[in-house]
């Protein structure tokens, strides 16, 4: 079964195979249990369904017997995992080894937060899992039982169907086994291969037909976990990669048409304001956003509060003044602050009480801007944030040269 050496990156060439015994979720939980039992991990952070209701939350568990109630594949994303991790380590590193089992977008958010110094990852083991997507929170809450049935079908088939949230249908980072290559995204990456991928360990099941799991480690921490799991069966990753790649290619196609559609739909001031019409300025999107980390948001501050005269003057100049005030400023301002780190997790749209398509707007703009900065958020830990770094010779096209010094800027 062992077939190393075929791939350039030997590290990711093979994975460990595990047969699913009975239930997929149970097998995954079994892995975590083992890691807790043999003290490789001191605690795990996992999603869990509330016992009496249909809602989900994150639970930090030290007792492996409580893991039975956990759900590694929740149908919805109530709280972004990056946020949960942020709450744990904001005040400093933990000295217990915590394994966080999260969706790839949650892991990517955690990595962005790590770069922003909001999450400490030294003792955190990031374990990602093939993500079937998530259902829109509102639709799920309207009919949890039926939604769950639908979701199970999606898990079994692994296709990104229309029941999922729009940003999940275009997601290309649902599996570490088949994420876009750096050549494809033209993204920069650090020479240090250790931290190339966001997660330490990845659990893949797309392609296993519900019978097999494939585990790969991409860091030394991940390798340590894999070793302690004592899985004996090796397998080449090619088959698993191909299975994910098939899903990814169709998502990529969706992404292209999605971008085009949304650019048309919201392009121009009239269309853009129409798309944001329903916004009630509650700032929920900002509060649930994993990468909106500021302790004091500019848009919550007193800085935008003005005297009545100012408002009257503005109303006079414009002819009218709309309240809630400055919704456009809020969205554009927030966008210009965080969109390069946006991982398209969709938490903002789930939280919007007015069903403004925030995540779709941000995802479209995020995709375009990230491409122009050749940046893929939440992948390589060693690639600095675009706004915290620069090259001396770049973006010359945004500077306006002047006739008097054409010779000076001849290169532009």
């Amino acid at each position: 079964m062992n077939s190393t050496g075929k791939e350039k990156k030997e590290k990711t060439a093979t994975g460990k195979i595990l047969s699913v015994e009975g239930d997929l979720r149970k097998t995954i939980k079994g892995l975590l249990k083992k890691l807790l039992k043999n003290n490789t991990l001191d605690a795990v952070l996992v999603p869990m369904k509330a016992p009496e209701t249909e809602s989900y939350a994150w639970v930090l568990l030290e007792d492996e017997t409580l893991l039975d109630a956990a759900d590694p594949l929740p149908p919805v994303m109530t709280v972004q995992g990056g946020r949960a991790l942020d709450s744990i380590t904001k005040q400093g590193d933990v000295y217990l080894k915590i394994g966080a089992l999260m969706r790839p977008c949650e892991i990517r958010a955690a990595v962005e937060l790590y770069k922003l110094n909001q999450v400490k990852l030294e003792h955190i083991h990031l374990i990602s899992i093939d993500c079937p997507g998530a259902l829109p929170l509102k639709e799920y809450m309207d009919n949890p039982i039926k939604s769950k049935e639908n979701f199970e079908k999606i898990v079994q088939k692994g296709d990104k169907n229309e029941a999922l949230r729009p940003v999940c249908q275009i997601c290309q980072h649902f599996s570490l086994l088949s994420s876009p290559s750096t050549e494809e995204t033209k993204a920069s990456s650090s020479p240090d291969t250790e931290n190339h991928s966001a997660a330490d360990l990845h659990i893949g099941f797309f392609g296993g037909n519900g019978k097999k799991l494939c585990l790969t480690a991409s860091t030394s921490k991940g390798k340590d976990l894999l070793e302690k799991l004592e899985l004996s069966q090796d397998d080449s990753l090619e088959y698993w990669k191909a299975a994910g790649e098939k899903i990814r290619q169709s998502a990529l196609k969706n992404r292209e048409s999605f971008n085009k559609e949304w650019q048309e739909k919201i392009g121009g001031i009239e269309n853009f304001t129409t798309a944001l019409d329903a916004c009630i300025n509650c700032h929920n999107c900002m509060r649930v956003c994993p990468v909106c980390y500021c302790q004091q948001c500019y848009f919550d501050s007193k800085i935008l509060e003005n005297s009545p005269e100012t408002y009257l003057q503005r109303a006079q100049e414009r002819g009218s003044l709309r309240f809630p005030l400055d919704t456009l400023l809020f969205h554009l301002g927030r966008m210009s602050h965080m969109v390069l780190s946006c991982v398209s997790c969709g938490a903002c749209e789930d939280a919007c009480p007015m069903s403004v398509p925030v995540s779709q707007i941000f995802s479209m703009v995020g995709d375009q801007t990230q491409k122009s900065f050749q940046y893929v958020p939440g992948t390589d830990r060693n690639v600095p944030l675009p706004l915290q770094s620069f090259l001396k010779d770049e973006f010359c096209e945004v500077e306006i040269p002047c006739e008097c010094d054409q010779s000076l800027l001849g290169k532009a």
């Binding site: 650019q263 919201i266 392009g267 121009g268 001031i269 009239e270 853009f272 304001t273 129409t274 019409d277 500019y298 503005r314 100049e317 414009r318 002819g319 009218s320 709309r322 400055d326 919704t327 456009l328 400023l329 554009l332 301002g333 966008m335 210009s336 602050h337 969109v339 390069l340 479209m364 703009v365 375009q368 801007t369 122009s372 900065f373 675009p386 706004l387 770094s389 620069f390 090259l391 001396k392 770049e394 973006f395 945004v398 500077e399 306006i400 002047c402 006739e403 008097c404 010094d405």
Partner: protein, 141 residues
């Protein structure tokens, strides 16, 4: 569009280069169009996208950011960061088709009074040609 449109342009000038350049243009009695309201900042990297957006949404027809030439920043690297932020904001405006041409970034050193006059005059002409910022009459903002 009426020909008597007088644009309202906000100019963020860095203290060490562009503001001094503007000063030089003035003391050299160069003709500079009077539509630019100058705000002096210590460095072009002081400019947060919110400042630019607030200007654009609250009444400006255009925003000019001017700082030291790359490599000449008083704080060594400020203008490089400023350029990245500006590039991001411009890309966002471009993606959303929100008239990105109303934003401009230029480098003007303390000795470039002539360049300052040219940059301001050219930008003023462009904005005049574009007409009033449609954002200001949009009742939904």
């Amino acid at each position: 569009m009426s020909s008597d449109f007088k644009p309202n342009i906000v100019g963020f000038l860095c203290n060490w280069c562009s503001y001094a350049g503007a000063d030089l243009a003035g003391s050299s009695k160069m003709e500079v169009k009077p539509y630019l309201s100058v705000i002096r900042v210590m460095c072009s990297s002081r400019i947060n996208s919110n400042l630019v957006l607030t200007a654009l949404l609250w009444g400006a027809d255009g925003v000019l950011i001017a700082g030291c030439h790359p490599g000449d920043c008083h704080y060594e690297q400020g203008n490089y960061y400023a350029r990245r932020r500006f590039a991001l904001l411009k890309k966002i405006m471009e993606t959303l088709k929100l008239e990105p041409d109303r934003l401009q970034l230029s480098w003007v050193s303390a000795s470039e009074g002539k360049r300052y006059a040219e940059v301001v005059n050219k930008f003023s002409d462009e904005i005049t040609k574009m007409g009033p910022n449609p954002i200001h009459k949009n009742p939904k903002i």
